[in-house]
Symmetry: C2
Subunit: 330 residues, 2 copies
């Protein structure tokens, strides 16, 4: 069972997840059950991947949205499991792409076995996600899930394609994270409403909510990659710099930088200089602050969208989830 | 449009495909349409991958099976496109696993761009396969397709896991190719019958047919990897030896080999000796012959299963397809 009391923050995940603890356990059990194979080798690999889970971001958003839409049904548990399987698959393939060695304080599958095995384990997870998804009696939902994974792949491809472009535009950065991260969180909250046969305005509002939370979450993730501590965050950091991924702090810094400052930050980003030059430190801090503010703006939009739904304790939890996503330390 | 007149054999693909030429074209068009993205980068990558297609093995088996079951419906074209997309995805990921440089006489995606891009393009193809599959109005078929891809991944994982095991048992070899290759050909022919609402005996018979053809096809593929000519076959060969993949000729050779002969063949397999020692050449040729005979036995089983279906020109084509799969030179 995954420990979901992992975060230290003024808003803890324990508090956020308190109304859905039993359901999150049920999702974890379904996930275990789905991945079971008659081949011991595969069970060993999957047991390792299950250790990657932890935040249960997508399932928790889906389940809280379901509560806000009147209550959690069996189909919600199924779909929450599907989305977590998809997320795990992207983590496993991401670790191949990013050449990451550590994930949740454990060696990655790619590191522990080989890139080949990691590619196949990711494929195995995604295949099981679709297998479970096709058990839903709403084919339109399965189709929306697959449309969402189309977008996730597009976002990832765009990201790999733009590696090394330190002058990435803010629009393209947003488009990348909208597809690669926010498509899945938007599907989580929107489809919770769809499965509850909610009015279309609720579905739309929850789509906006999930998308904006996803965008803010990714902005903060990218910020932590530049500023966080590996032990606290529990995964390899600094990979964005190493791989030439241009993220929002760099984009904000660039807009106001004169040529020498831009040269100095690039020297640090590319590793030509280990330490950041002192004279750009305060401008860099300002860029980080502006990045946090951008994330906050997306959260404001998310919370505004929620107003379409009737006031319930579950809606309150979703408001808090949005806040949490920008205050987390890991 | 893919050239489907590519094979030279007493049985040509042109003859085999003659009753389904228009439908195969329709499948190629659907495939093109499905992969279209608003991102030019992705269209470029997909255009390259489409060049991998060619044999259209799975679509042609499905369409001929559909004809044998009373006629080709729109759902058959959809499912044929889905299976070809899945197949293309496995090719792209296989080329990462096998470090292959050439596929259909062109550089592989992995070689042309990067392993990272190849992983993502494979994911993109599989996602589109499921997206299209979920448009079928029979969710049970979508579920069977995903169950089949679960098995494909298991087969691939088993294969990677057993690399370097030159003493692989014939049972485990068969299990690997049954999952990694035959699961998809079995799904192609069985689901053709399912979509035509055929009696369950027909579905079962076509499952056996597709599975046995798939097994024979893979046995011959593995044989060609050891004996074929890169230019004729049109892809990187010898990768099984280089990667330590033990295939049927080696398994047959080993059964009758004394220790010095076994040592000599291993020296050749591992590349310690460039040339095979002269004194094992005839035993090696015998093992190749036995391998061809094993493939023929599977084809006999496939053709026997077909007897459950009423005699039609389409059934005759399926009989010929089975023969072709073991007589092909590439």
């Amino acid at each position: 069972m995954t420990d979901i009391t992992m975060f230290t923050s003024t808003l803890s995940l324990t508090a956020l997840y308190s109304p859905i603890v039993a359901e999150l356990r049920a999702v974890e059990e379904r996930l275990l059950g789905e991945l079971y194979s008659d081949l011991p080798l595969i069970n060993e690999l999957c047991a390792h991947v299950q250790g990657y889970g932890g935040k249960m971001l997508r399932p928790s958003l889906l389940l809280l949205a379901a509560q806000a839409c009147g209550g959690i049904r069996d189909a919600h548990l199924t779909l929450a499991t599907v989305l977590e399987l998809i997320h795990l698959a992207t983590l496993v393939h991401d670790d191949v792409l990013d050449q990451a060695e550590i994930r949740r304080n454990k060696p990655t599958i790619a590191r522990m076995t080989s890139n080949e095995t990691a590619v196949l384990v990711g494929d195995y997870l995604i295949s099981h996600a679709y297998h479970l998804c096709s058990s839903l009696d709403k084919p339109a939902v399965a189709r929306q899930v697959a449309a969402c994974t189309n977008r996730v792949c597009e976002g990832e491809l765009l990201q790999v394609h733009t590696r090394g472009q330190w002058s990435l535009s803010p629009e393209l950065y947003l488009e990348i994270i909208r597809r690669k991260t926010a498509a899945l969180t938007a599907a989580a909250t929107e489809l919770a409403a769809t499965l509850s046969d909610c009015p279309v305005e609720w579905c739309r509002a929850l789509h906006v909510y999930g998308e904006q939370v996803g965008i803010a979450f990714q902005i903060m993730d990218d910020l932590l990659d530049l500023t966080g501590n590996t032990v606290v965050v529990g995964k390899s950091l600094g990979s964005d710099r190493r791989l030439g991924k241009c993220t929002l702090p760099v984009i904000h810094f660039r807009r106001d930088a004169d040529p020498p400052a831009w040269e100095a930050i690039q020297a640090w980003l590319t590793g030509a200089n280990e330490q950041m030059a002192c004279d750009i430190e305060s401008a860099w801090q300002a860029a980080l602050q502006e990045t946090r503010q951008t994330a906050r703006n997306h959260i404001t939009q998310a919370q505004l969208a929620l107003q379409t739904l009737p006031p319930t304790p579950a809606r309150e939890q979703l408001q808090m989830w949005a806040d949490f996503s920008i205050h987390r330390q890991r």
